[in-house]
């Protein structure tokens, strides 16, 4: 099997997997980074959202061979100590319920705030609506993004 060198959360990692293996399963099964979640396998729920050079990407659809030297950032790499403004806001507002979709929500919100530090309601709608939550935490997600924006945060 081919070998791939990845940059995950700032560390070089090497994996030996078939070329079409989605990044999601490389993270979860090979690197034991289980914070990135499987929800649909077809890019529709976005529970698997990670950042690639800061842009949102859906790890369930991304073959490992196409990652290249782009920096992969997962929920585990957002901060070491819950200090990212989005994490702080998520805790302050108590967003999570079951929690399964939250890594995808948080990574998407972090990317949104990096691009739009003070997002409009329309920007929040546009960025966050693709990320599904079955527990219905949406109103708190909106509120937490506002809190994080106030903290000036990316």
């Amino acid at each position: 099997m081919p070998e791939y060198s990845l940059n995950v959360n700032g560390s070089p990692r090497t994996v030996d997997v078939p070329a079409d293996t989605p990044l999601l399963w490389v993270l979860r099964d090979e690197l034991q980074l289980t914070g990135t979640k499987y929800g649909c396998g077809t890019g529709q729920c976005r529970s698997c959202t990670v950042l690639l050079d800061g842009d949102v990407a859906f790890a369930c659809l991304l073959p490992v061979e196409s990652v290249g030297d782009r920096a992969v950032r997962t929920i585990e790499g957002l901060s070491d100590d819950l200090s990212h403004p989005v994490q702080k806001a998520w805790i302050e507002v108590d967003v999570p319920q079951c929690g399964w979709c939250q890594p995808g929500q948080i990574m998407t919100a972090a990317a949104l705030l990096a691009e739009h530090p003070d997002p409009t309601d329309e920007q929040i709608d546009e960025w966050m609506s693709p990320v599904l939550c079955r527990c219905g935490t949406y109103n708190r997600i909106r509120k937490a993004i506002r809190v994080a924006a106030k903290e000036g945060g990316r």
């Binding site: 078939p18 914070g35 108590d94 929690g99 599904l132 219905g136 708190r140």
Partner: protein, 707 residues
């Protein structure tokens, strides 16, 4: 009553306690009086729920499953309140399956607070008294001179204090008090306050451990090929191509299908894609939505009687206006964000199970039966649940993993893809309903006949119907709360092979929709305001009337023109609580927009108001997804929808503003996890009825307003 079995059994376990510390276990479910059970406990354990370390750590062992409903936080608040500990030191963990300590463990039916508010306060108070007694003994002073505060036992007259951590081992050796003194609720520091969830930090840094995240040494990952039609089976299979896929280790048959076990998910997926199976479709192989509806309609006239009062026929004959209507509610999948999964490790003398289950003791029973082991040889390790909503009380995924591990001779994680999960059944039952109603000259409903045809959950989980009625299918239908003098309700089970199960709020999810919408039809036929008509029929249910009035007032019902959008209302009593909702709805370019939901909820007591609000938001989102889009269709005997493209759920931009107004006046204590759901569909449909004059007699609403 998601997650509940046919009958609620009460367990009282009193076993001989020899040596090893003392357990105080209120092993009672659904009963108010605590009983004392004894057995071996872990070091530092003061009883089945409380462990205090010499490092002052406070661990609460919670027998209910945390699936997002906030139960670990709420139950910890009850324990901490009476124990008098520093909240910042509290952590929780899932209890093992152990019916000798906890009784039957099943999280569902919005029962956690109802079952536990007293027994856990007792457990906290009992442990506190044991710690106080241990402190008093250390100082050789009467316990009555000592008190507990913030993780310390204090002796006021001498100014001495000892920490819980330094006393826990001594306290564990003391007898548990029979009747510990509970705090006066007016002295509560935690209960009733907005407390932060204990599980939030782990859920925002990726460290929370769910079933799918579990990995044990030597574990294989398996996908199962299952029959495409319900009631189907494997005729034969050819695994040659599968076994040639790198990483695939074994292919074995189990009762539900063919297991492809591999080194990881992707190899298992590729292996299963390569598998060739010849299926026997079974007797249901050509069933479709249309054939199911034909069958249900045929059965409608022959249902068993659920309620029969007055004379519906006579009242209809004499009435001014009669209305007949057919209402349909579809099969629904739970679609938990984490598809179901389970890790099992079956060995000769023991079996370990790691999974997010809502029913630990049933998982234990299932594994014991499959393996031939004794129940106590089966260890159930409950992880966080990535959504439950009733789905994870079925444990079909546990049975598959145990079968697979047994057949493979290795620990295995059985993973369901989204499509596997959505097509595996355990659905909210489809329901065909025929109504015949009538109103008199004043617009008062005088006749109400409701014929329900819907597959039985009780039958689907292996139970038997009594007198032909499944009470989990007729909630709030037979016992319609409105004062209508002539009432007849019947039920028939079409006995489909599609597995059906408890889906958040169970048959309230259909019956409140149907009955609250048909009532609006009667109101319109009689020229009555839907709110005013409801209130006039609720004299016997003042709590329902009060909640409805409150929601209507906060939503601006009396001045609807000023609101500028259509309003719809609904009220229900379920899971021991009352819920009323008023929605603000419009149709824009053929799309239904729900702008605002005003909810009044009467749940008896408030443990954590933030949790109540979150659960109402959650019930609204879950119920709105069903009302707007939710449907599992049957074709060729199997489910059509497999993923979120064809089974959409509400997104952030669709989420209405939700306002929750809580009424709490003590007894009786009500549930909350499911209560936010049943009213949303009828409240939205009734608003749409107000806009268009056309009742919504079939869910989902779908794109019927699109041109």
């Amino acid at each position: 009553m998601s997650g509940h079995e046919v009958s609620r059994r009460t367990f009282i376990q009193v076993s001989g306690g020899a040596g090893a510390g003392l357990v105080l276990g209120f092993s009672l479910v659904g009963c108010r009086r605590p009983a004392v059970a004894t057995g071996a406990l872990d070091p530092g354990a003061l009883n089945a729920w409380i462990r205090i370390g010499t490092d002052e750590s406070v661990t609460f062992v919670i027998s209910e499953s945390e699936m997002g409903q906030g139960v670990h936080t709420a139950l910890a608040m009850l324990l901490a309140e009476e124990l008098e500990v520093d909240w910042s030191l509290v952590r929780t963990e899932h209890a093992p399956a152990d019916r000798t300590r906890y009784g039957r463990q099943s999280t569902g039916g919005s029962t956690s607070i109802r079952t536990n508010h007293e027994r856990l306060r007792n457990a906290g108070a009992s442990a506190r008294e044991m710690l106080v007694a241990a402190g008093a003994a250390r100082w050789d002073v009467p316990a009555s001179e000592c008190r507990a505060e913030d993780g310390q036992v204090l002796h006021a007259s001498s100014g001495r204090s000892l920490s819980y951590g330094s006393l826990a081992d001594d306290a564990a050796l003391l007898p548990a008090p029979d009747d510990p003194a509970l705090k006066d609720p007016k002295d509560f520091r935690l209960v009733g306050k907005r407390m932060p969830r204990l599980d939030s930090p782990d859920k925002v840094d990726g460290s929370a451990m769910f079933g799918l995240d579990v990995s044990v040494p030597g574990m294989l990952t398996a996908l199962v090929a299952r029959p495409p039609a319900f009631g189907g089976s494997v005729r034969s299979f050819d695994a040659a191509a599968t076994l040639a896929v790198p990483g695939v280790r074994q292919v074995v048959a189990i009762p539900t299908g063919v297991v492809v076990a591999a080194d990881g998910f992707w190899a298992a997926k590729r292996g299963r894609d390569a598998l060739s199976v010849e299926w026997d479709a079974g007797e249901f192989g050509d069933a479709s939505d249309a054939s199911i509806r034909v069958l249900c309609r045929e059965l409608a006239d022959d249902g068993a009687v659920v309620a029969d009062k007055g004379d519906v026929e006579e009242a209809r004959a004499a009435a001014r206006t009669r209305i007949d209507a057919e209402y349909d509610a579809p099969f629904l999948a739970h679609a938990t964000m984490e598809p179901v999964n389970c890790v099992a490790d079956v060995r000769d003398d023991e079996c370990d199970i790691w999974t997010g289950t809502q029913a630990q003791t049933s998982a234990q029973d299932i594994a014991a039966e499959i393996t031939g082991l004794r129940v106590e040889q089966v260890k159930v390790h409950t992880t966080m649940l990535g959504g439950g909503f009733g789905r994870r009380s079925r444990n079909d995924f546990v049975a598959e993993a145990v079968h697979a591990s047994k057949a493979l001779g290795a620990p295995v994680k059985v993973v369901y893809t989204r499509e596997d999960d959505m097509r595996a059944g355990s659905y909210r039952p489809v329901a065909y309903n025929r109504f015949s109603g009538a109103v008199d000259e004043s617009g008062n409903p005088v006749a109400w006949e409701h014929r329900i045809v819907s597959p039985s959950i009780i039958r689907s989980i292996g139970g038997r119907l009594r007198n032909g009625v499944d009470p989990t299918a007729t909630e709030n239908a037979g016992d319609l709360g409105y004062a209508i003098p002539n009432l007849k309700v019947t039920y028939a089970d079409p006995e489909l092979p599609v597995s059906v199960h408890f889906w958040r709020s169970v048959s309230n999810s259909q019956n409140i929709y149907l009955t609250e919408c048909f009532l609006d039809e009667l109101a319109a036929a009689g020229g009555r305001d839907p709110l005013e008509l409801r209130l006039s029929l609720l004299d016997a249910h003042p709590r329902r009337a009060r909640a409805l009035r409150l929601a209507a007032e906060k939503a601006g019902w009396s001045d609807r023109r000023a609101v500028g959008r259509a309003l719809g209302c609904a009220v229900a009593e379920c899971f021991g609580s009352i819920v009323a909702q008023v929605t603000e709805v419009e149709i824009v370019d053929g799309e239904v927009r729900v702008h605002r939901v005003v909810c009044a909820i009467d749940c008896g007591i408030v443990v954590n108001p933030d949790t109540i609000e979150a659960q109402v938001e959650s019930g609204v989102a879950y119920g709105l997804s069903a009302a707007l889009y939710g449907k599992i269709s049957i074709e060729n005997g199997g489910a059509v929808e497999g993923n979120f493209d064809r089974y959409p759920i509400v997104r952030l931009r669709d989420m209405p503003v939700v306002e929750t107004h809580i009424i709490a006046e003590g007894d009786p204590v009500g549930g909350i996890g499911e209560v936010g759901l049943p009213c949303i569909a009828p409240a939205v449909c009734n608003a749409l009825f107000a806009i268009t004059g056309e009742p919504i007699r079939r869910l989902p609403i779908g794109d019927r307003f699109k041109t």
